[in-house]
Each structure stands twice: as C-alpha cells, then as structure tokens.
Amino acid sequence: MDYEEAKDLVVAGLTKKLKNKSKFYFNDLAKLIGEKPRAAKKYVNQMVVEGVLEYWSSGSTSMYGLCGTGKQAGAEHEE
C-alpha cells in the first residue's frame, strides 16, 4: 500500500464516523489502514506531519483526530 492510499482510507473512515466522535485511538487507524501497527505508524506519522491528522492527549492517553474537527479547537480558545 502506498501513502496516498492509506491516507484516503483514514480520511474516509474517520469522516464517516465524525457524527459520533472526533477522536480515535491509534488502533482504530491501524485497522482502517489494514496494516500491522508498526507499518501503519509510518503512514500515521506522515499524516500528522502533513496536517491531515492531529494529536489529542489527555496526558495519559493519546488519540488522533482529523485536523480542526471536534469541540476542542473552538472550546479552548485555540482558533
């Protein structure tokens, strides 16, 4: 699988679920990409660098979301 393919799968998969939730575990992304975690991580890292995905962290747990989606950006004076 090439990077563009993986990106399309992740964007389509997360967009479909956006109504219900905006933050996802790494495992959710790896499943969408259909690769083992270590291989999927390379694509996910690249998506963060390109600004397709962004990190969300509670401090103890990390999650991923499509950039700019979810309540956080507006609610925390970060526009």
Binding site: Y25, K41, V48, Y55, G59, S60, S62, E76, E78
Partner: protein, 438 residues
C-alpha cells in the same frame, strides 16, 4: 496585598511541614517585584491566579481544571499536557496552564549552570513553578500558555541541548538509578543503557502508537532505588550469577565493632552492639548464611539477592563479579486493574553495548505483541494477565524457567501444549487400564 483572599490555603501553611502554599506565595511575590527585570511572556500574576483557583476548588470541593487537549509542539505527540481552567474570566492568568515534561538526564546529574538556565527559561516563558521530578523522573514545568510552547521547545533544544520527555500513549522517559557513577552495588552501567535506549527509541518516545503508556526503568542492583519492579512495564534490575565476595577480616571487624553496620546510617541512637546472628544471618530470607567458627559462609545457590546482608556489611560483602541484569515485565500502578509487580522473564542477561540482544530479543518482540493484542488503554501487565504469561513467552520465544514462578504451584500459568507432550493428549484407554483400575 494578595490578589485573592485565601483563608483555606493560609490554614494549610500552619501545619508542621514545609508548605507548597508558602512556596507558591513566595514565587507570586517574586514575580510581582521582578527584581531581575525579566520580560515575562505570560501573565506576571499567573501564580496569584493559581493560588486563587486552588482556593476556589477547596471552597467548592471540586476541581476547576480541565485536562487534555490538542496542544503540543510540531511533530511531537507527547511532552505537553494541555490544561485549562473553567473560570478564565475570574482567573485569566491560568486560562491556559499547560504542563511540559522535560527529559531528565540519566542518573539526574545536573550542573548548577544547567539548573539556572532551565529556571531562567521557565521564569520568563512559563509560571516559574516546577516539579522536580515527576513520577517518571522528568523535570515538570507547570503552567504556560499555548503560544509559549513552541518557544520553550525551541530554546530547550537549541540553547540547552535538551529534549522533551514522554507523555500519553508513548514510551515514557526512561529512568535509572545513579548507577556505577557513585554506587558500588551497581551491577551494570544503568546510565549507559538508559541513555542508549532513550536515543534508540526516539520515535516511540515522541510519536504515540502504543495502546497506553510504557515505562522502562533501570536499577543497578536489587535494592531497586527507582522501584522499577513496582512501576515499570519493563524493569531492568542488576544482579550477578556467581558468588557474593566475602572479606572475612572485615566480617570480624563488624562483629568486633570496629566497622559500624549499615555504613553508620543508624548512628543517631545507641542500638547496642552489632549482633551478626540477629541482624544479618537470622534475617536472611532463605536461611542461606551461617557462621562456621570465625568464618561467614553463604550458600550462594539459595541466595535470592535480597541485598540485606550486603547493605548491612558493605565492607565485608560485595556483589559478585559475573554481573548483568534480570528483566521483569508488567509492573504498573492501580489505575485500571489493581497494582501489579513485575514478573521475571529474563533471569540473567549480560548488559553489553550495543545492547542488541536486549533490544531485539526482549523489547521489540514484547512491543510487537502488545501493539497487536493490547486493548486500548491496556498496560502490558494487564495483557499478560488477560492472555496469560505463556503468550508472552511465545511472543518473545523464551523457554519457561522455574525462576519465573514465585514458588511451586502459585503461578499456574505455564501449561503443556499437546505438541510438546510425547504421544499427545490422546491415550489408549485399554493400555491405561492394565495399570490402573477403574
């Protein structure tokens, strides 16, 4: 006069112990005076608002902090913990109050110049309030605003040669004891291994892809000064596989009172004459020591490395010469499923650069298994409990070893599989009945 009235916090200061409230007030006063003409990049009264919101939380009996967020520095998925207050109008100084974790040097050796530099940086671009150190060992910078995060990171990395630590579902900043730098008990160079693995696993430290947090801790000997056995998903504990070295003359010197036991640590009170039978031999958990006339004897095969005798008589008893470490897996604090101590997976391994055996045979197979099988927010210890220790052994390829069980029949998680048993599980019942009546 203080910005906010704080009667409840004031009361805390009246206790017998040094008070964090007094520290905060001192910092608030120092920022208000600004004798060093610092160009504060976040509100000068941030600490006053911090004290104020804390008083309000005590008054309401509930927190006014929200934690978590999208804040971070570019390319890093850890090291910054977003923190906001839900009373930004009343306490604008702490509307944003993000935490930054700074990776501590191995063994926590600092120069005064370095400490001054990080304090100056945090005074200028943050609240000036720090926590030395957090539970994982990092230097914790408490409280800054979102625009300052990249600025602090730039100065840390460019001027101080200093990286951020781990947070979130990352490898957390590896942490070690002071090791061979100052301690004669250290069985391997904890700082070298800690530093090497920190550099090797930068991607795991900064880009979260684990189910949850993962901690390495390195203890040079079984005294476990960084408590790796209780807190690290993978603990490296120094040990030796030959005999404890005994200096019989020094043993006699302890008995005769010429050398004080425990390196004179209990000299504040008269505990009477040193009694080797009562204080050392009688306390050996495996009863593997005895006096043979004037000679102290140890049955080293029975020694479980409790360290007591060595701690009491460090001049007479020394760690062995064939040194390495034991590796234990799965310790954790009780967030989800109760506290767990680490389980032994590698009884002994030599600790030699470039540490390939440790990386390729232990760490990476365990990570592969946990990343594939671990549920979200499941620590390694919980996965071991859920799927069984045997699955961990399969993932790593280690053979079961009697040293992996605490004592016979207490850890029944290693089972035979059919293909490991000669003849399998099927039996000829007629043959069996020849020897055993119904």
């Amino acid at each position: 006069m203080a910005k906010h009235e704080t009667p409840m916090l004031d009361q805390l200061e009246t206790g017998p112990w040094p008070s964090f409230v007094s520290d905060l007030k001192q910092e608030a006063a120092s920022r208000a005076k600004n004798e060093n003409n610092i160009e504060y990049q976040i509100p000068q009264d941030v600490v006053e608002d911090l004290i104020g919101i804390m008083e309000l939380s005590y008054e309401h009996g509930r927190t006014h902090w929200k934690h978590g967020g999208i804040v971070g520095v570019f390319g890093y998925g850890g090291g910054v913990i977003g923190r906001y207050c839900d009373q930004p109008e009343k306490f604008p100084g702490v509307a944003h109050f993000h935490t930054m974790r700074v990776s501590q040097p191995a063994g926590k050796f600092y120069t005064t110049k370095y400490l001054e530099s990080i304090c100056e940086l945090w005074e200028r671009r943050g609240s000036g309030v720090t926590n030395m150190h957090g539970s994982t060992g990092d230097i914790i910078f408490l409280g800054t605003t979102t625009p300052q995060l990249e600025e602090v990171f730039y100065e840390l990395t460019h001027n101080l040669n200093q990286d951020l630590g781990g947070s979130g579902s990352n490898l957390r900043t590896p942490s070690d004891c002071i090791g061979q730098a100052r301690c004669e008990y250290a069985c391997f160079d904890t700082q070298a291994l800690c530093h090497d693995l920190t550099n090797e696993y930068q991607d795991e430290l900064h880009r979260p892809a684990f189910p949850y947090k993962f901690k390495f801790k390195f203890d040079g000997c079984p005294n476990c000064c960084v408590a790796s056995i209780a807190r690290a998903d993978l603990s490296f504990i120094g040990t030796w596989r030959d005999d404890i070295r005994i200096d019989q003359e020094a043993v006699q010197a302890y008995i005769g009172g010429e050398i004080m036991p425990n390196a004179n640590a209990h000299s504040g009170r008269d505990w009477g004459a040193f009694d080797i039978e009562k204080e050392v031999i009688g306390l050996c958990p495996t009863n593997c020591m005895w006096m043979d006339g004037k000679e102290l004897k140890i049955d080293n095969r029975e020694c479980t490395r409790c360290m007591h005798c060595i701690n009491v008589m460090p001049r007479a008893l020394r760690i062995g010469n064939d040194r390495g470490c034991s590796i234990l897996a799965g310790a954790k604090a009780p967030i989800l499923d109760g506290a767990q101590m680490g389980s032994l997976i590698v009884p002994f391994i030599k600790v030699e650069e470039p540490y390939d055996e440790i990386k390729e045979k232990v760490i990476e197979p365990i990570w592969d298994w946990w990343m594939e099988e671990g549920k979200n927010r499941e620590r390694l210890g919980e996965l071991m409990k859920r799927q069984g220790f045997q699955r961990l052994l399969e993932a790593t390829g280690f053979d079961p070893d009697p040293r992996m069980v605490q004592e016979p029949r207490t850890n029944p998680y290693i089972f035979w599989k059919e293909d490991e048993v000669p003849g399998g599980f099927e039996r000829d019942i007629n043959e069996f009945r020849k020897y055993h009546q119904r």
